[in-house]
């Protein structure tokens, strides 16, 4: 019964759009709107260190580590600038970063500081020619702005490493804290200075730099995807339940009632097919956004449990609402209006953490709000599954209350 019903529903184009296509498209749009380095697909960045030495290699490495690159960005290392250039023209990479490897090794302290300052003004030149001695260059094919932006972000991250390394070194120099031996001969011993700055560069920073270029891009989809799933769960379940009302007016329900099948089985079959379709759509969205955007929804167990609780709550509420409607038309308007009202009040269209306090309070009167708290904790704040037990409890209660109410109401619709 469920399977027959399910098969029938997935042949319905509007069901496919509501359950599978719309949430994905909207999540992508919102993700792009609110995220910075959001891209569709992978970005491959080539990196080369010209005449590398131990110092420059470790600076680059820690710069890359600092960037905390998401899954959709891959780094390829090259040995020469020519390789990077040909990689771009062959489209095996989307952008290239050229780091001068003898950075600082020959310059004096002032020289270096001057160059570092210059770095900021010169590094974002898009050119395929070899960069100046002390500046990091970013090369991109120019066909798409996104890979260039990503590479610039990575370059900035490497650069900040050099700069903080210098800062640490300079501070140490001036205060004489750790390196009393070199106090007087900084300017004359660039190698000592370099070793200091490298040491500073690879030491973890005392504060965390928020890498807004990448982090938010990844997580914003990891947040908006479940958020849109919530909205369309409600609308999709409403459509499914409307199908039951339609079967009544379309007469097929009479035929079902005439068949040697329990009316309870008919109701259960219908509701189960709605739930199955809803669950499949959300889990699929989870997989899609992970593969295509490298988005992370957070702790998998927490996400899975929260998806189930959210699906049950939203479907329960939506089916109940539909079962109250007298006509199909009424059911349609009701689920659209209530669906979007819940989405607006619940905060589904806002980026995580952007709701003013008074709206946060309002949002918690909706299942949407509670589900978003859960998904936000998982994707934005890195909570484990125990962190979403609260929202799951609230959603579970909503699911039980409206689930039972729906069963009773739909049972009555099926009775002739």
């Amino acid at each position: 019964m469920t399977w027959l019903d399910f098969k029938r529903r997935i042949r319905d184009k509007s069901a496919i759009i509501t359950s599978f296509i719309a949430p994905f498209v909207l999540a992508s749009i919102l993700g792009l709107a609110f995220g910075n380095a959001q891209t569709a697909g992978l970005v491959r960045v080539g990196i080369v260190i010209t005449s590398p030495n131990a110092a420059s290699i470790s600076i680059v490495n820690s710069g890359l580590a600092e960037a905390a690159l998401p899954g959709y960005i891959t780094i390829k290392r090259f040995n020469s600038v020519a390789q990077v250039n040909s990689g771009i023209s062959n489209h095996t990479i989307d952008a290239g970063i050229i780091v001068p490897g003898d950075l600082g090794s020959k310059g004096s302290f002032t020289d270096l500081l001057k160059n570092i300052k210059d770095l900021y003004s010169t590094m974002f030149v898009q050119s395929s020619k070899l960069p100046d001695k002390y500046s990091i260059a970013v090369i991109s094919s120019g066909s798409s702005a996104v890979p260039g932006q990503v590479a610039k972000g990575i370059a900035a991250s490497i650069d900040s490493r050099i700069y903080t390394g210098l800062l640490v070194a300079t501070t140490t120099e001036i205060t004489g804290a750790n390196q009393p031996k070199t106090t007087t001969s900084v300017a004359n011993s660039p190698n000592d200075f370099l070793s200091l700055s490298v040491q500073g560069a690879v030491t973890p920073l005392p504060f965390t730099l928020k890498s807004s270029d990448f982090g938010s891009g990844k997580n914003i989809i990891g947040y908006f995807a479940p958020s849109m799933a919530i909205v369309f769960l409600f609308i999709g379940a409403g459509m499914g339940a409307r199908g039951i009302v339609a079967e009544r007016s379309g007469g097929t329900l009479t035929r079902l009632a005439a068949a040697p099948v329990r009316s309870g089985a008919v109701v259960a079959g219908k509701i189960l097919s709605i739930l199955v379709l809803s669950l499949v759509s959300v889990f699929l969205l989870w997989g899609e956004t992970a593969v295509i955007f490298g988005a992370s929804w957070g702790n998998p167990l927490g996400v899975a449990l929260l998806i189930v609780a959210t699906t049950l709550a939203m479907c329960g509420l939506s089916i109940f609402l539909t079962s109250l409607a007298k006509t199909e038309q009424q059911a349609f308007s009701a689920s659209a209006i209530v669906g979007f009202a819940l989405a607006l009040l619940g905060g589904n269209f806002f980026p995580p953490g952007s709701l003013p306090p008074w709206m946060q309070t309002i949002s918690l009167t909706t299942p949407n709000g509670w589900a978003l708290v859960g998904f936000g904790r998982l994707s934005q704040e890195g909570f484990g599954f125990s962190g979403v037990l609260g929202p799951i409890e609230v959603l579970g209660t909503i699911a039980i209350v409206f689930g039972i109410a729906s069963l009773i109401r739909i049972g009555r619709v099926v009775e002739l």
Binding site: G250, G251, T252, R255, L256, A257, A258, A259, P260, L416
Partner: protein, 322 residues
Amino acid sequence: MKIEKVSGTGSLPVLECSHLVKSFASRKAVNDISFHIDQGECYGMLGPNGAGKTTTISIACGLLQKDSGEVKVNGKELNHKSILPKRDIGYVPQDLALYPELSASDNLRFFGKLYGLSGRDLEGRINETLETVGLIDRRDDRIESFSGGMKRRANIAAGLLHKPSLLVLDEPTVGVDPQSRNAILEAVQLLSNEGMAVLYTTHYMEEAERLCDRVGIIDKGQIVAEGTRRELVEQLGSLDRIRISVSGMHREGAEVLRKLQGVQEVIEIGDEIEVLIPQARLKLPSVIEALIENHLPLTSLEVVEPNLEAVFLALTGRELRD
């Protein structure tokens, strides 16, 4: 050639309804209705709009909870909660009850599975039933692409799929073109001849006359008369008419016929003579004999029996169709 009917074994009726009562709010839609249908019998339920036909059928098929009374299908009691006895019934609702977005065969597959059919058995039945209703070449087309008449026929196919012993059709020809209507009537006739019991509701008198072995006339929730057409007409006491032409000699003819025993009235209508006489067919030989004896040139002779329309009119004082 008329196929010999597989007649009832005389044992159990396929459907037996006793004293069915059903009210909606204060209105009694069905008020103490009893009837039965034997194997191979086609029972017609004839009545105007709102008479209670659909309500009676819904109770008989276990779709609707009755207030009181009893329904037995092949000896098994059936109510709105029954499961197994419903297998014996093939129900064809008054309104189209198919999924328009699915093809004819997909619809039948869906409903066939509900009746426990599957696999090759199911596929075989799908083809057979589509053959029966003449839709086999539209097998894989969506229902929404069908004409009204074709939809009706597909609707019937869905009720036949599981070879029920009782086929229940609720006004299957309403709003159907003559071609489809004929196809439907022929299919029903064939099934009935093959031994299927048929409950057929209609407000078309001609259909009941053509198809049904017995007819129940229903009005305001009650069966006001029941029997074969013959019985009904006799019950009404209306007289048959014999329409006679005796070229140019109708006056003489009328004279002769008036003297004939049993004749109640003789009317001259133009060149023709109409004789009102009970059981006209039995009296035909004596009528012909009398005319020949008096050397009257008989050119044509026709027996006109009163129809169900007349019966209905006589019983209710209303026309069958408003």
